[in-house]
């Protein structure tokens, strides 16, 4: 069920990407969708009543959560940040050229 809520968040994000007219909002939608997928990945690796996967010298820790999705999500977070930065740079240049963030007015190419 918690997976399902996560997918709802994903849908909100993708809806934002596809249906918003403002470029910045499209980027916001992308970030939200990325958050949702990262969260889903970590949820998949969670163990009930688990412990963080960091050992301590005091003794063995039982029920550690799956460290692999965490490592992957770390990668995914950085990739997401990087993509966002590039898109923001493009958006700022577009604003410099067109003076607007509205996609309806940035439409010289036919598609």
């Amino acid at each position: 069920m918690i997976y399902f809520l996560c997918l709802v968040l994903l849908c909100v994000g993708i809806y934002g990407v596809l249906r918003k007219r403002n470029i910045i909002r499209m980027i916001l939608g992308l970030i939200i969708a990325e958050h949702a997928i990262n969260l889903l990945f970590v949820l998949i690796g969670y163990r009930l009543n688990g412990r963080a996967p960091i050992l301590s010298p005091d003794g063995p820790i039982l029920q550690m959560v799956d460290p692999l999705p965490q490592a992957l999500v770390l990668t995914a977070i950085v990739i997401g940040l990087a993509t966002t930065a590039l898109l923001v740079a493009l958006a700022m240049r577009l604003h410099g050229k067109y003076g607007t963030y509205d996609v309806a007015r940035i439409r010289e190419l036919k598609g």
Binding site: C11, I32, V42
Partner: protein, 178 residues
Amino acid sequence: MVELYILLILMIIGAVGALEMKDLLSSVVALGAVGLGLSFTFLVLKAPDLAITQLAVEILSVIILIRATLHKDLPEVPARGWSGGTAAGLGFAVVFLGVAFLCIPDLPPFGEPLLKVAGHYLEAGLKETGAANLVTSVILDYRAFDTLGEATVLFTVVMGVLAVMRAVGRKERGKADE
């Protein structure tokens, strides 16, 4: 696990807010709230590495986004209203969520992952890599090649931003660009 549900619902509300608020700056702030919520959720899910990284990354992306929106908050164009495209988008979302609802039971139940590969990391990670933080041992030893790729993505973006931000792209402007 109630707190997880509460956090997720708050995040969804924040996300809808970020997309629907009138003012761009408030949207960005709402997005920051969503990221903060995600960071807390990671903490609840026992992923402190991710919580730290997410928090720092969220601050940075909010700074960048605010830089992009500041002084540029032009009067918002009226929303498109309930056009056919919106209906199609909602229809797609409903179908997607419906399919997902049917499919999710095929995943292992929440809280009981299979731990096929990760089981080995948990057992032998300290012995084999010497790192107490198993996430670090995964990203920098077992799966270091991924991390090289990740560092390269960041490098690529830096090069890309530098390339995109050049004031003049072409030396001479012929008729090529009509």
